[in-house]
């Protein structure tokens, strides 16, 4: 049996990796999967880079940022497998929610109505502070996207800071921040403690959107290609199991254990059911398998890159675009899962938000992202001109 060390942070979207180890999917593929819980994304990045971890549950933009030179270490990283779609939400303090209600906020978590309500609130007060988990995270980019599409300038009208997922509820309760965008179950934990209100979800901002990947160094992937293929097959089986509704209670109980999330099982079950707002279940809140949730679409990598360029984290050049795109490896995914039940798209990229009903996902502002026309997309985006002419 080949030992593989895998890092994770205590989050709902670590499910596929955790279940692969717990339920023997890894073992069936002759892999001894050692799970190691980490305390920060910086740790995950550094430990994978230096080889203390072989693979990790990782923020989707993290390998891209590292390859573009935005991280301290210059080790090449790749993402050959996505660990699901969706799973985040935006939560605000009770005081901010009351102010939003007066401006027509909607109880159902509607991204458009609540974005507009927040915009109205901000016209009459000093900037608020919102937290995300990392600069190079889907949270950061989807929060900025939602704000900007609602008329709020994320670089001026709000302060965006960084707080670790498990510390979000406390930061909100203490008044250090006015709201946050974080993965589950940390929104539900804050709501259950009475500290805030979920105003919208990642799935409402961009349906079926990318969130975490299985990240690793290119070197490890090259030197262990057979092991990697087996690992991806184990994760594929685990993803199907996690996505099966009948298994949700078992999954919630597994995640609740002290060595994983160490939280109340009931809160986890509600999160898995997508019952974040008014107890209404939302099937597409978090997707572990359906909608090609594990395929590493290069259009996802390119969308993250477009947002890095939009907010001036990186220059918009064709070299950078190639680096971002190559960080995602659909070729490895296909090679590993050929002959299994996995759907293997023959394209590496798609138009995001383009074809509703065909599992391509959709942005709440109805704008589509064509990965072949990034420059145009970035230059037309809200606040781009104001930011880049200064």
């Amino acid at each position: 049996m080949k030992a593989v060390r895998a890092g994770f942070l205590p989050l709902l979207d670590a499910s596929i990796v955790i279940a692969a180890a717990e339920l023997g999917f890894a073992e069936e593929e002759n892999i001894n999967l050692h799970l190691m819980r980490e305390t920060s994304w910086a740790n995950v990045r550094d430990r994978v880079s230096v080889g203390q971890l072989d693979v990790a549950h990782m923020l989707a933009p993290m390998p891209i940022a590292q390859n573009l030179g935005l991280s301290p270490l210059s080790v090449k990283m790749i993402a050959p497998f996505a660990l699901g779609l969706g799973g985040n939400a935006v939560t605000v303090s009770n005081a901010l929610w009351q102010a939003m209600l007066k401006q027509g906020a909607n109880e159902l978590g509607d991204a458009k109505a609540n974005g507009q309500a927040l915009h109205q609130v901000l016209l009459n007060r000093s900037p608020i502070t919102l937290a995300v988990v990392h600069s190079h995270s889907a949270h950061s980019f989807e929060l900025r996207y939602w704000l900007a599409a609602s008329g709020i300038n994320p670089t001026k009208d709000v302060n965006i800071t960084i707080v670790s997922p498990g510390l979000m509820a406390d930061a909100l309760a203490s008044g250090a921040i006015d709201g946050f965008c974080v993965g589950e179950p940390w929104n539900s934990v804050a709501v259950a403690a009475g500290h805030g209100k979920v105003v919208t979800t990642k799935s409402a901002i961009w349906r079926s959107s990318p969130e975490k990947v299985l990240g690793m160094t290119q070197k490890w992937a090259e030197q262990n290609s057979e092991t990697l293929n087996r690992l991806l097959r184990a994760l594929h089986k685990s993803a199907i199991w996690c996505a099966t509704i009948e298994n949700r209670e078992t999954l919630a109980g597994m995640l609740a254990q002290p060595s994983y999330l160490n939280l109340n099982e009931k809160i986890l079950l509600r999160s898995l059911e997508g019952r974040l707002i008014d107890d209404i279940p939302r099937q597409d809140f978090i997707q572990f398998y359906e909608s090609s949730a594990n395929f590493p679409w290069q259009s996802h990598a390119l969308w993250f890159y477009s947002q890095m360029a939009r907010w001036q984290h990186i220059a918009l050049t064709s070299e950078n675009m190639v680096i971002a795109k190559a960080s995602y490896r659909p070729d490895i995914y296909r090679g590993a899962l050929i002959g299994t039940a996995a759907v293997l798209p023959d394209q590496d990229a798609k138009i995001e938000g383009g074809l509703p009903g065909l599992n391509t996902g959709g942005f709440f502002d109805m704008i589509t992202f064509n990965p072949d026309a990034i420059e145009d997309y970035v230059k037309r985006s809200a606040f781009f001109g104001a930011l880049h002419n200064n």
């Binding site: 305390t39 920060s40 994304w41 910086a42 740790n43 550094d46 430990r47 880079s49 230096v50 203390q52 301290p72 270490l73 210059s74 988990v133 990392h134 600069s135 800071t161 960084i162 707080v163 670790s164 498990g166 510390l167």
Partner: protein, 199 residues
């Protein structure tokens, strides 16, 4: 002319380890060493201290926040990066392996940072060794307690002497290829569940 002293900030929730690092740095002639173990108000403290080198425990859950602050804070005048240049990447690898993360201000020379980093790495390793030994000592004590209890159970159940009870434990352990302590745990557990069953 003496080289200007570097201000070194050690952020560590383990005060014991921070003190160990501080002492080492002072012995090496660094007099401007500041230890911070509380994260409250850390950013304003960093502005105040204006450190040239920041040494931090890799296990600190606020690393993502601190890295972000180093990158964007206008109040922290000089940009802070995780290492000086490509040539220092090996030192950074060694540091991460030892559980240290270090950040240095832009413009600092590798020759000046490396000794500090090496020292921090050595102290982290020394601390880890002490911790391991302590854990082992605690574990050994727990195991001995468990073996004593198991011996008591067996002595009563079979009306045998203490040494006979120990032989019995050891023999079982050898047969099953397990540790004596593991067999002792099992004996104590099963005696307890039998007790519960009676009640």
């Amino acid at each position: 002319m003496p080289v200007a002293q570097l201000a070194i900030l050690v952020i560590d929730e383990s005060h014991e380890r921070a003190t160990l690092i501080e002492r080492g740095l002072r012995d090496a002639g660094h007099n401007q060493v500041i230890i911070v173990s509380q994260l409250n108000g850390l950013v304003s403290r960093i502005e105040e201290i204006s450190p040239d080198v920041i040494v931090m425990d890799l296990g600190n859950p606020n690393r993502d926040f601190l890295e972000h602050m180093f990158r964007i804070s206008k109040a922290i005048q000089k940009p802070i990066a995780m290492f000086v240049d490509q040539s220092s990447e090996q030192s950074m690898f060694d540091a991460i392996e030892a559980g240290v993360s270090a950040y240095v201000v832009d413009g600092l020379k590798q020759e000046r940072v490396k000794p500090i980093l090496d020292l921090a790495i050595a102290r982290f390793k020394a601390f880890e060794k002490i911790r391991l030994e302590r854990d082992e000592a605690v574990q050994a004590l727990d195991e001995r307690k468990s073996v004593d209890r198991a011996k008591g159970v067996l002595m009563q159940a079979y009306a045998i002497s203490e040494s006979e009870a120990f032989v019995m434990l050891r023999k079982t352990a050898m047969q099953q290829g397990r540790k004596v302590a593991a067999i002792a745990d099992a004996v104590v557990q099963s005696a307890r569940s039998k007790e519960k069953g009676k009640k």
